[in-house]
Symmetry: C2
Amino acid sequence: MKLTTIAFDADDTLWHNERFFTLTQDRFADLLSAYTERDHLDERLLSAEKRNIGHYGYGIKGFVLSMVETAIEVTEEKVPAHVIREILDMGRDMLRHPIELLPHARDAVVAMAKSHHRVVLVTKGDLLDQERKLSESSLRDHFDAVEIVSEKTPDIYRRIFAEHGDGSERSMMVGNSMKSDVLPAIEAGAWGVHVPFDLAWALEHAEAPEGHDRFRVLDNLGQLAELVGEIG
Amino acid sequence: MKLTTIAFDADDTLWHNERFFTLTQDRFADLLSAYTERDHLDERLLSAEKRNIGHYGYGIKGFVLSMVETAIEVTEEKVPAHVIREILDMGRDMLRHPIELLPHARDAVVAMAKSHHRVVLVTKGDLLDQERKLSESSLRDHFDAVEIVSEKTPDIYRRIFAEHGDGSERSMMVGNSMKSDVLPAIEAGAWGVHVPFDLAWALEHAEAPEGHDRFRVLDNLGQLAELVGEIG
């Protein structure tokens, strides 16, 4: 059964993202170094992010709100207002950072479009920010559809693969997150292709579905066309 | 030419929204009453929202970030951290407020679905928050499609009316915002139906396109079925 739809994750699959979160978290730790140890701060921030994800969803704005909350918490309400202002500035910097495509990202997307697959972008995060990045990436025209979703569940993948192609059976999801890109796509009946990235957010961790016949791992996107050719 | 697609705005068209922003803004003014006059505060907040809309887009998270920024600004960096914490709490309260449908909202959506129109929800705001409200409204099943968009431009309406129906010519957009719902839908070639709501955000203000043959005003959604029947 021929593959007809290839879906790509965006952040840390096609372009850098986690790096900007990590750099911002370093600046956040510097700002608060007089009040708390780095390890403790990282732990409190992660715990705020976990607590807030159901309210804020994914993306930079929620991350900034969680940093502000954590700054107040770890300083026992002693954080000066100018530190909060700097956190807001850091958030706006993230929202304007230039897009840097990952190696082979452009070639992989273009190759899939040229080989007459339906090519779909499936991403979480802030709506406007993801649209900005896609538009700056100059990849927009190679996608047949763009789906910015609040969560990547098997049901969401089923809907996307039904709407943009011939259903999950004939679809593939390619991404750096085992938890959001690979596992739920496989559960929906599609191929799940993991392209690991060297930085990963703790909330995106999950175990690999070793031995599953629709699970594949690639070192980089330069190997995608060959894999798709093999599957047929 | 028969109308085939009816699109509804969500906030302050189908359910209350601006009321929660207004109540929160009142609490915000109380919190900062020792530092600044109400009028001045409202003006600074609106100006922060305008400045930030290109970064944050629409929705509660951006509103909270603009409130925090304004609190720092009007107090000349003297705002205590516990006030910032209360602003974050107010934001989370907004993100969990229960949905209250407006009069005739349910009947209007159900009537359009029963009369075999394609029924589409078109809304701005935070992705997760709009999904939550739609799901709580129990109207989800009556919509053929849901479009959560970062901006409501004529191009966006053209795409939506092409995707979910037979194009703008045979479509109608119903909403409380002249600027976001009525004018760009008319510019796209669709019918634009204004259902004014008694509270309106200053950034949504625009003049009515008086005399335009595809512009209509309704007192409430109870009059929609009749209007759609007349247009045919």
